[in-house]
Point group: C2
Chain length 183, copies 2
Amino acid sequence: MSRGTRSGTREEILDAAARLFAATGFKGTSLQDIAGEVGCSKAALLYHFDGKDAILTELLAPPLEALATLDARLAGLGDDAVQLAAVEGYVDLVMRFRREVTVLYDDMPALLQRPAFAGVQEMSDRLLDALAARSPDPAARITALMVLGSVPVVCMKPTEIGDDELRSILTRSAARTLDLRRA
Amino acid sequence: MSRGTRSGTREEILDAAARLFAATGFKGTSLQDIAGEVGCSKAALLYHFDGKDAILTELLAPPLEALATLDARLAGLGDDAVQLAAVEGYVDLVMRFRREVTVLYDDMPALLQRPAFAGVQEMSDRLLDALAARSPDPAARITALMVLGSVPVVCMKPTEIGDDELRSILTRSAARTLDLRRA
DNA sequence: GTCTATAGCCGGATAGAC
DNA sequence: GTCTATCCGGCTATAGAC
């Protein structure tokens, strides 16, 4: 990690912020709320982070990095293989970062405008393209968009079944939505 | 309508609020923003409405009423017919109230807690149940959830194709997601 | 490294003139 | 019916003591 010091408080703050942001949204969560959850003062938060935005940015860094990795991997695939790989990679990505995705979803339109998230829109567009098997057909692009929206909704709800089964159901159902034939 | 006076300003305010709420979210939109868009003062808004919440409530009343209607209709159907009817009814509902759905989506968790939206959660649950053909199977409930999430995402994005074709694609793709056999 | 105190801003809402 | 002026509150963020 870039910061050598592992104070522990930093992680506590990040964890509390993640929970609160996911529950009540970024705009809906105040520094006071986070401080209360952690058990410290607002000023203490602002010692550890440069501001509310910095907390969010650090929180979302890992999933964004994972998205970039997926993006790069998909770029190297042919039009046939890319669709299935996109489905599996996307489901995996969203499931691994459920909590962060919930945060992102809450204030999405406003968040995407921030400089820290430059490039996310482009990667999303390419992911959509991959899910549509790079077809320009409007129907294909719409079903791809449906998949893009359907996966997070499921992952944001707590479910009674295990992660492995959930992942499997999501992948198969998304493949059906896309009318994706078995390889 | 309950108010006899058709001042015109009221509608202007509702329209501007709808656009802004959809673009930047409910919490992300201030009365000043709305006033600026309409070309009047904050106080003028608060003459016409009892507060920011009242604007939102009035804005969302028609789609909520439509949801209640759909809910009642589905309640009278058998387990076989209900699934297809739910898909078609839901797609139709979301498409008819695109803008309002966008608003709802933005601050959903917080909004659902409000007293004005009592019963919405229950209706959503019943709609989910109908989309799952009232099956208790976890996989069926998950695909139903996927449909619930996929339709709004598409309707929120502007598309180049016409509404009729969009509706048709959405219905067919959702049916595929649910593995719904043709009637 | 964490606190208290406070500055400064912006939000929603009210009072009262016109 | 719409405005101006103002209040009160919560928010982020800073300054400085400990």
